[in-house]
């Protein structure tokens, strides 16, 4: 077992990783609470937006803010289009079917991204945000402002959207729609407008997360699209309900993942951390009851 001082930098990087997982995880739960759909294409729309931003900034020479705006706009537009086209058609179906449908969108986006931004010829792309250039030092390693922003964004999302969904009229309408679209419609809620708002908001979230993740993790379609699988761990532990639990679980998973790094016998297995924790967590939480995801629970 290595000495404690070896673990210190990993606590910092673990928190950063936790921030990454929290950003995706909280985004997924917020989307689920607002639309009733586990939006597995979250990573893919973010990646698409980030790649478009990269193309605009490095190829077309556009200023940074224009690229970021394009990223968020594209992510929002794609998600809105998906929500408007397939939301009503699948609204009455099981949450599982709705989630599997988003897998369809993920595959489409993934294929398109690899076609348009090829990796042949050894091309390596990266997206850097201006907040990468500043920071402070903790435990002999530098922490960039981008990592702080990611963590802060996770916190803001957790607190802010939780309050929004619970306290505002629009938020309540969204939750009602996610629960049962038909009954909500009979209550006189403007269903199409609320649905559009929910999906657009979710898409914008995905775009912002995509920018941050492209900077923090990698600007690579495969990595960003399937990062959502690891983020699902925190989502599962929260049973798709509590945003706060998702956030905390994500931080814990990130910390644990990195803290395993200096332990020689376990380091090759550390990528399993999210999956193992999710499996254990879910099985422990379900030991006294049969867990089912019916519409009533959402």
């Amino acid at each position: 077992m290595p000495p404690w001082v070896d673990f210190e930098p990993f606590i910092v990087s673990g928190l950063a990783l936790g921030g990454v997982y929290a950003l995706s995880g909280v985004g997924l739960v917020v989307l689920y609470r607002a639309t009733g759909v586990l939006y597995l294409a979250f990573g893919a729309v973010g990646a698409l937006g980030a790649l478009i931003a990269w193309s605009l900034i490095t190829r077309a020479g556009a200023p940074g803010w224009a690229g970021w705006l394009a990223c968020v706009a594209v992510a929002g537009a794609v998600t809105l289009a998906y929500g408007l086209l397939f939301g009503p058609a699948l609204a009455r179906r099981d949450p599982l079917i709705k989630a599997v449908a988003t897998i369809g969108l993920t595959l489409i986006l993934y294929g398109v991204m690899d076609l348009l931004w090829t990796t042949s010829g050894g091309q390596a792309r990266s997206l850097t945000l201006p907040t990468d250039n500043g920071g402070f030092t903790v435990a002999q390693i530098q922490v960039t402002w981008t990592q702080v922003i990611a963590l802060a964004a996770g916190v803001v999302l957790t607190v802010g959207t939780g309050a929004f969904l619970r306290l505002t009229k629009l938020g309540t309408a969204m939750r009602a729609m996610a629960n049962d679209r038909d009954i909500t419609a009979t209550l006189g809620v403007p269903v199409r407008k609320v649905e559009a708002a929910a999906w657009l908001g979710c898409g914008i979230l995905g775009g912002i997360a995509g920018l941050l993740l492209a900077d923090l993790v990698a600007l690579d379609a495969t990595t960003l699209t399937f990062l959502v699988i690891s983020s699902l761990a925190a989502v599962l532990i929260a049973r798709l309900r509590s945003i706060t639990v998702t956030f905390v679980a994500a931080i814990v998973i990130g910390l644990l993942h990195d803290l395993l790094t200096p332990i020689a016998s376990l380091t090759s297995y550390r990528d399993m951390t999210p999956f193992v924790i999710a499996a254990i967590g879910l099985l422990v939480l379900s030991r006294h009851q049969v867990m089912t995801q019916s519409r009533e629970e959402a």
Binding site: S13, I108, S120, G121, G122, S126, Q142
Partner: protein, 451 residues
């Protein structure tokens, strides 16, 4: 029912839009890619404009119209890893030759089969090339596992493959000779350079793809012979947490140590950028990388902090620093015929050029019909050929294993380009495979000719 049909129609519409978008922008993305190396492009385009590509063939301006000579190539092409530039560049070279006399009047037709690292597909591709396309030679194979899958098939049929190797069998069997050094010997080169700078510890980190044990054996032998401790690490790719990787490497290496990476360019970039953001790049004596890092993309993305800090093994002559006829011809052919080569100037297209060069040189020596026997005998007989892209003269030969490219340059990023840090240096024969090859090949394997 109407809604169902509407949904169906919109799906099809979306798919059609995606198709159209892809069609419109695939051309722009490829031109964008070549435009991304503006410095290299502009400095060499002046040279290229004055180089007549017709020197690639024996009869300038005369189109070859005889019966085509069919050759084949298998390359990996999957999301995240694409080696198609190599056979595409070989095809560009063949196109040039075909427009300038061909091989004794015969044009060369290159059949390119792509695969997604699926062993069944790779074996099937080989059979397709041989039985359906009736190729008489294999030139330009570049695949993560193809050599392992097909080496016994090529041996059975008597094909002597000219390839850009990655898997162990590309360098350890009689039927494959590569123009590059492959991950093991390229990592040897990077480690060797680090050892020459008197580092006190080496950390060798590589991607967890097939062959890690075989690859690590080389650097381990070198470090052991130099009495320098070495730590072997592997990372699952794609890397999602580069921070922990960078911290681990730096911690293990220590302030007088070296971190040597063996990853594809995107993964290496992610690790190096993480190290820079964490402020760790100066915590070790030097960083090294095997040849995949040798691209201007990487040099540009990394920025000035890595000038003289990162030392990359280069298996092929640095295009920006070399002003020879061969290099200018390569750039000119790339410009004129290489529209499907997406990475532009760089080691991938250089390898394609070199392999095609060797193949044409061999084919031109054949006097009778072009059959599997005659073509592969000619390939095997290539001896001391000056490709103009390598340190050494290239030989195939009749040996149990082939490592014809076993001498390398070392380059370092400088202001957005890779520049030479050290000229041609032989890979040490402390690596047992190198020793075995040099024993078998004799003097053909030794003297470097480049600078």
């Amino acid at each position: 029912m109407r809604r169902n049909n509407a949904a169906r129609r919109t799906i099809l519409l979306a798919a059609a839009l995606a198709l159209a978008a892809a069609g419109c922008s695939s051309s722009s993305s490829s031109s964008g890619a070549t435009g991304s190396t503006p410095a290299a492009g502009s400095s060499s385009s002046a040279g290229a404009a004055t180089v007549d590509t017709s020197s690639c063939g024996s009869k300038p301006g005369v189109k070859a119209t005889g019966t085509p000579i069919p050759l084949g190539a298998i390359a990996t092409n999957q999301p995240g890893t694409s080696f198609t530039d190599i056979p595409n560049m070989a095809k560009a070279y063949f196109d040039c030759v075909n427009a300038n006399g061909g091989v004794n009047g015969h044009p060369i037709k290159l059949y390119i089969a792509t695969e997604q690292t699926n062993p069944a597909q790779i074996a099937a591709d080989a059979k397709q090339l041989v039985q359906t396309d009736k190729v008489v030679g294999i030139v330009g194979n570049t695949s993560i596992i193809e050599c392992s899958i097909n080496s016994s098939y090529w041996q059975k049929l008597g094909f002597y493959v000219i390839d850009s190797g990655i898997a162990p069998e590309c360098y350890s069997t009689p039927n494959s000779a590569a123009v590059n050094m492959g991950p093991r010997y390229s990592s040897d080169g990077a480690v060797q350079y680090a050892l020459a700078q008197h580092v006190s510890k080496v950390v060798f980190d590589q991607a967890n793809v097939p062959g890690t044990g075989y690859i690590a054996a080389g650097p381990n032998a070198l470090a052991k012979a130099a009495n320098v401790p070495i730590v072997d690490l592997t990372e699952n790719v794609p890397i999602t947490d580069a921070n922990s990787v960078a911290i681990k490497e730096v911690n293990d290496a220590g302030p007088n140590g070296a971190v040597i990476l063996n990853f594809t360019p995107p993964q290496a970039l992610v690790i190096l950028q993480a190290a820079q953001k964490l402020g760790l790049e100066d915590r070790v004596k030097l960083w090294g990388c095997s040849t995949p890092c040798n691209t201007d993309f990487l040099a540009q993305s990394l920025g000035p902090k890595w000038n003289g800090k990162l030392f990359v093994n280069a298996e092929l002559a640095p295009p920006d620093d070399t002003n020879t006829t061969s290099m200018n011809l390569y750039k000119a052919i790339l410009k004129q015929y290489g529209s499907s080569v997406q990475g532009g100037i760089g080691s991938f297209s250089q390898m394609g050029f070199t392999e095609a060069e060797i193949a044409v040189h061999a084919l031109q020596s054949i006097t009778g019909p072009y059959t599997v026997q005659s073509v592969n005998a000619a390939f095997k007989a290539v001896k001391d050929f000056d490709t103009g892209q390598l340190c050494q003269l290239w030989t195939y030969g009749d040996y149990p294993l082939h490592i014809p490219n076993n001498s390398d340059w070392t380059v370092t990023p400088k202001d957005g380009k890779m520049t030479t840090a050290q000229g041609c240096t032989l890979i040490s024969k402390v690596d047992p495979q190198i020793a075995q090859y040099r024993n078998a090949a004799g003097t053909a394997a030794n003297a470097p000719t480049g600078s």
